[in-house]
Symmetry: D2
């Protein structure tokens, strides 16, 4: 089994990945996760290369906020050995193509089902933190609408219910309605949001499509908080929300912000799953 | 039944009390809860006087952060009609004595059992907010110690369990241990904290007596957060904690900070209970 | 929309379907759900025909335990009007083919996702009833293994956890493990049952394939109860279990036994969903 | 510390107490818990005597259903050594007086707070078993009224809520209402049962005083199940209930019936607590 790892760039999550892999007896080299000198030469002997989430924020440099110097992504790609297994998240398309052309194995750990599920937990906790900080009422007995019943919606709905909120979930499918009801939650059809939205103190969107359109937003109460956790393009007509004076927060990438160490741990566990599957 | 109320001083909680009493068809006069001129003359006709929590922060002036001018507590006391029912919280002893000598009925709504229980909810939510904001790990699967199983300890323990924390509660009595276990929580004897405290990521104290002494603090891990919600004198040897470099937050009066509107609602409901009992 | 319904055969579930449809202003005729004379002539004008679950227990007669006389399934099939919508469950293959050849629409309501999900609830309650009745220990703090994390396994695991059991779920997929853990449950790989099974007081199988093989059964403790709720062929090597003297109960069709009225209600709601989809 | 124990009479609970005490390295003699010859001579050397729950069912013989022969309680009392610590439950008054007059220490383990709390769990599970067995609807989404919010009422309410029932608790005190609401349950004042009782599918009484009087019973629906778990005299006007044709079950002593082994374990743990307190 591959045992020599290079952790390259990233934030506290990558630092955690490094520490936890060392505890599993991997031989780990780190570049660009501290103020120390960053020479890419150390990449050479790595059998596994772990790139950060996201690999790059600008498409040109490596995402390495703790590094002393900027590191060009192209410099990294160039130095990757043909037999190296590359793990990363949201790699720029051109870099990914370069790897493919060279015949280098690349796996996006952020697309793994078990990581997405586990990440829903710090996402939900981040939502709770924002709601507690922004709202002048308790979550207990507050009326909360969760739009969407995918992985993130499921976990958010469950946690607000656990805190005593009166939770309603919007969905479209009979089977989803059956599950939502089985969890002791109320249901509303997504097509009826316009009529129902005014009764909620907090609206949490998890759907990356414009569900909270101008017509829905019009009926949101002025003292209601709207929290959008959907990735781009989000689920709110932000321009209309601004015009209507609605209280909207678009909270992205919550796991890394709310719980970087747990997020790192989740990435590490996912990497272990990937390795156990590829190393058969 | 008394129907004429004067709400005097206080913050958003008192504003909420005023609003909710109006919705119950009380005739409500307010003094010192906005920037408007504050004449105490408006107190005159009130059958019920509602003072803020606390009545005074300095023992001299009324606690009225939203008021344009300072209001002397003695001026208020002097003007209270003999037949008025006075409701307040943590009234300075001398003012309370003056009322008693005049034969004026005074009830501290903050000592009512139902208010203390209901306030445990925003207190617990405030603790969750701080923990989420300060800790780099998720509350889910974190190891949490709750010291004390009174009203606040019960609610905090339950809410952290609901969020997936591994909760252990310290207590001393067999009956408390039976209840704690019935709730699916672990137990530890308060006398054993010194030996057990090192395994927790978060320690929440609810006991207003020095339970977290220097000997206990010594064994708290450096990455552990200590949150003290006990009223004065608190439950932590703060001096020792500072010396030992432990991470301690003493969080007081959380309900008014985290959820002022819900807190106001709880006060209003308690006042309604008091009125229904006194007006038989 | 079709409004004329004939409910034909079945038990308390069909009686409930009849009653609830009447409350929705359907015109309902019933045949064979009471001791009254059963003439199939009443079928004639029905636009919707609702057959019982299962349609037949012997392949020849209609499943109509409350009927005065036996009703031949072939007599029923023969009388169905070409434009009638037929709803039933587990129809014998040859009868289903006859309908198809005649161009008559037939829908099996028991294969609808929302019914399967909702039926998992009375199934889980039936399991709880048997466990409470058979075991000399409380479910609280008992160690329970749920084999399989499909719809029924999910609901059973959740309900036993809610009652304070220490629940472990066996599965095979990383994503399932992530969900199981998110629910606060322990996980075990189905391939490791042989080594782990001895620590459980109750083993509940939900997988319709021989997971509890002789090798696994050998390690089940003599005071452990094994409850199999998987449909045929079940998940237990029953012959080996008998030989080894293990305590096995194969509990089939729990919803209709434990909660016939709720089961009828679920069928009725599913029928309403089917109608709303077919009647666009 | 006393180490020589005699377990005398009783059912599977006493058998369990014997077994568990042996595991704690007590020297245990048993009389009358099996078909073997029962000579009271074996009592002689015991420092601790453990009598069954209840000590006697007829006031004359020892409660020893598994014994070959009848054992007179007076024979037992007579043979107890002056220095022996006697533990029992619901001892007939005259026998208790005899012990007192002889200066023999007697403690009723069934009056210990921690035992009463822990026993509420098998009581609640027994209630669930009966409800599941008797009712044709699921507990999920059924409307359940729990009368009384003492130790048993608290645990029953919590467990039905955990199973998805819509639970309402009747009480009289503001503080109880605050706790009930904090648990996410609905409240009703016990004085309003007459008006409210008709909306429930299941009524569970825990109050040993006639709360379910004829006037209340009149309004109970005919398809509602009434379960009384209050000890004598119970909380139902049984005569009126019979006359009105209401469906009432008076379920007494559930822990010993539903979960005798767990009940024995609870008794053993309580005995350990008693010993640790008396042996300082």
């Amino acid at each position: 089994m591959r045992k020599s790892v290079c952790v390259l760039g990233g934030d506290l999550r990558q630092v955690t990945v490094k520490k936890l892999l060392e505890e599993e007896n991997f031989k780990v080299t780190a570049i660009g996760i501290s103020e120390e000198e960053t020479s890419l030469d150390k990449m050479k002997k790595a059998e596994i290369l772990i790139l950060p989430i996201p690999v790059s924020t600008d498409g040109i440099t490596l995402n390495a906020p703790f590094a002393k110097n900027k590191i060009l992504l192209s410099d990294v790609i160039e130095r990757i050995d043909k037999n190296c297994l590359v793990l990363g998240a949201k790699m720029p398309k051109d870099a990914e193509n370069t790897l493919k052309n060279k015949g280098i194995a690349y796996i996006d750990y952020f697309e793994r089902e078990e990581l997405i599920i586990q990440n829903a937990i710090p996402t939900a906790e981040g939502v709770i933190e924002i709601a507690l900080s922004e709202m002048p009422i308790t979550l207990f007995e507050s009326r909360v609408l969760v739009v969407g019943y995918g992985r993130v919606g499921k976990v958010i709905a469950e946690k607000f219910k656990a805190l005593g909120s009166k939770v309603c979930v919007s969905a479209r499918k009979c089977a989803d309605f059956a599950w939502i009801r089985e969890k002791g939650l109320k249901t509303v059809h997504t097509d009826s949001l316009e009529e129902e939205v005014s009764e909620f103190d907090l609206v949490i969107n998890t759907v990356p499509a414009e569900v909270l359109s101008e017509n829905v937003l019009k009926n949101v109460r002025s003292d209601t908080l709207i929290l959008d956790v959907a990735s781009k393009p989000g689920g709110v007509d932000f321009e209309a929300a601004k015009r209507l004076g609605k209280n909207v927060i678009w909270a992205l990438s919550l796991p890394g912000k709310t719980a970087p160490i747990t997020s790192g741990k989740i990435i590490k566990e996912t990497i272990m799953n990937i390795l156990s599957e590829t190393e058969v």
